[in-house]
């Protein structure tokens, strides 16, 4: 055993093996780098990115304005505004404020939602030049970056 090891050391076999490893990886098809603006990364379904208010197939918001998300939010950054419809006696959503600047994308709001109406979608290009733009209103949550919706 010792002789084999000595021969290996003498002929620099370990070094040659290491060099073979690096040589093998030169194959361009092994590349894992993405060139971002030209190649879009494949985002996982469970990625938590741009928040969205989900609509049903008729284009109506699923949100019932219950406020569970606002209660669940550890940062208290969601504000749900609603009015009571006098005829149907149901709450109607008027505002939905989501301060993305304070959001840590924990996904607790999404989990608390009873009607799957709020979704942290796969949209990820959220950088802006001002902080004001990070306070998303109802419009932006409905029609902002359209990421893929993942059902729980």
């Amino acid at each position: 055993m010792k002789i084999i090891e000595m021969v290996r050391r003498f002929l620099l076999i370990d070094l040659l093996e290491g060099m073979w490893v690096t040589f093998r990886h030169q194959n361009p098809s092994d590349l894992v780098t993405e060139q971002y603006p030209m190649n879009r990364p494949e985002i996982s379904d469970r990625f938590r990115g741009q928040p969205r208010l989900v609509k049903d197939e008729n284009g109506k918001l699923l949100c019932t304005a219950c406020g569970a998300c606002a209660l669940a939010c550890p940062e208290k950054l969601i504000k749900v505004g609603s009015l009571r419809d006098p005829e149907t006696k149901k709450k109607v959503l008027t505002d939905f404020d989501f301060d993305l600047g304070r959001c840590m994308f924990c996904g607790l709001c999404e989990e608390a939602c009873p009607s799957n109406a709020l979704n942290l979608s796969s949209g990820y290009e959220l950088a802006l030049y001002t902080r004001e733009g990070l306070e998303l209103g109802k419009d932006q949550l409905e029609n902002g970056i359209q990421g893929k919706v993942y059902d729980k």
Binding site: F23, Q26, D30, T33
Partner: protein, 423 residues
């Protein structure tokens, strides 16, 4: 004047030997430009190969596949502010990079790119190259001293110790190669051209003569030359984790780029020593196995075919470029580059040109192999500790190289004696 210029074209000696000033100047400029372009190309090549070995892409944005990246880098370095520390020794600080570059380029005076393609042929060629290239240590130590700062000083001290200790092992292996030149003729030579011609006469590259001895000598030399040029895994003078950037710490901008240029020129210089001494210099591969006139012609076509193949590769990647507006200029540039390479390749296929160009081609190819090895080592091996470095130099490489010298002498004497007896 013009007659003497034209007369040189019919001679078959180097311009330095012919004493023709005009052609000497032309050759000096050609070699200087060639080495500089080679360094620029090496920069791109190294970043690209290292990136691919580490499963990255490397430079991709400046030009097609980052081909113009080294030019952009050079431009940035030249524009950058040239800082000089307030407490630095001004004159020495100024002179250190100049000294390093001068010594790195001086060695190329005797490098034979072909039987006539050298600036001059000195009868002490190898000695001159070793001497001049070891003067580079002086520049490094000057840089470390003049910076008047801790890290550069430590780095340059390490560098000095390292270069001096590996010089010995290197010179010993060179001695063995020089001894081999005396085999056929009885008298050895130190002239670079003479050494290659000795290999031509003996019908073997010195790497393969006296079987394990020549190969061992090449192995020892190729390890020692990595340490000599301060490259990974022996790049202790620049060990970032310990010494910031070693003797380069206080240098920036153009001065730094001079050190960079000198480092790569030094790499090319020692690689060309190794090529000349052991890999047959400008000689084409397989002269015995595939000898004869037809094979000579076939091998002389190889340089042109290489360039045409490179052109075809460029044009192939031109068709593969993404067809978006941002990449249009890149794609056209790549196609134009491929076209230029193709034209060069076709010119090289002409019978008059290919005879003269093939020497340079084979020499460059062999040097390129060593340059690839440098990059390969750098990606593969982690850096040695300083005591390990010294141990390898003094306790491993030096005894082996002395053994190589003794073995060469013994085998050589034995062969001469046998030849005497048989006669």
């Amino acid at each position: 004047m013009i007659q003497s210029i034209l007369r040189y074209l019919h001679s078959d000696v180097t311009p330095g030997v012919a004493g023709n000033l005009f052609w000497v100047v032309v050759y000096v400029l050609l070699v200087f430009a060639g080495i500089s372009v080679g360094v620029i190309f090496m920069n791109w090549f190294e970043r690209k190969i290292m990136a691919h070995m580490q499963v990255r892409m490397g430079p991709m944005r400046v030009g097609p596949h980052g081909l113009l990246q080294p030019i952009a880098d050079a431009l940035k370095l030249i524009i950058k502010e040239d800082l000089m520390p307030a407490n630095a020794d001004k004159i020495v600080f100024w002179f250190a990079p100049v000294c390093v570059v001068m010594t790195a380029f001086c060695g190329f005076i005797v490098v034979p790119f072909g039987p006539t393609h050298a600036i001059t042929d000195m009868n002490i060629g190898v000695l001159f190259m070793l001497g001049v290239s070891s003067l580079g240590v002086l520049g490094v130590i000057m840089a470390g001293w003049a910076s008047n700062s801790h890290y550069p000083l430590m780095g340059s001290l390490r560098s000095g110790a390292q270069m001096v200790s590996y010089e010995i092992a290197m010179s010993m292996t060179v001695v063995s190669a020089v001894m081999m030149t005396s085999m056929a003729t009885g008298t050895g030579t130190l002239s670079m051209i003479g050494i290659v011609q000795a290999q031509l006469q003996q019908h073997t590259w010195f790497a393969f003569s006296f079987f394990p001895v020549g190969l061992t000598a090449l192995g020892v030399f190729s390890i020692a030359m990595v340490a000599e040029t301060n490259r990974a895994p022996f790049d202790l003078p620049e060990a970032e984790s310990e010494l910031v950037a070693g003797f380069l710490t206080e240098y920036s901008g153009f001065r730094w780029s001079l050190f960079f240029l000198a480092e790569y020129a030094g790499m090319i210089a020692v690689s060309s020593i190794a090529t000349t001494l052991w890999l047959g210099g400008w000689l084409r591969p397989f002269p015995n196995l595939l000898g004869g006139k037809n094979w000579d012609t076939a091998f002389s076509l190889v340089p042109g075919i290489t360039f045409v193949a490179l052109a075809a590769l460029c044009l192939f990647y031109f068709t593969r470029m993404p067809s978006i507006r941002a990449m249009r200029a890149d794609a056209r540039g790549l196609a134009a580059f491929g076209g230029v390479l193709g034209v060069i390749g076709i010119v090289m296929l002409l019978p008059g040109v290919r005879v003269r160009v093939q020497d340079i081609y084979w020499f460059t190819l062999k040097v390129g192999f060593f340059m690839y090895l440098y990059i390969w080592y750098r990606t593969t091996f982690p850096r040695y500790r300083f005591d390990q470095l010294m141990k390898i130099g003094w306790k491993v490489l030096l005894p082996i190289s002395i053994g190589v010298v003794i073995m060469t002498a013994l085998i050589g004497v034995r062969q001469e004696l046998l030849a005497l007896v048989w006669r």
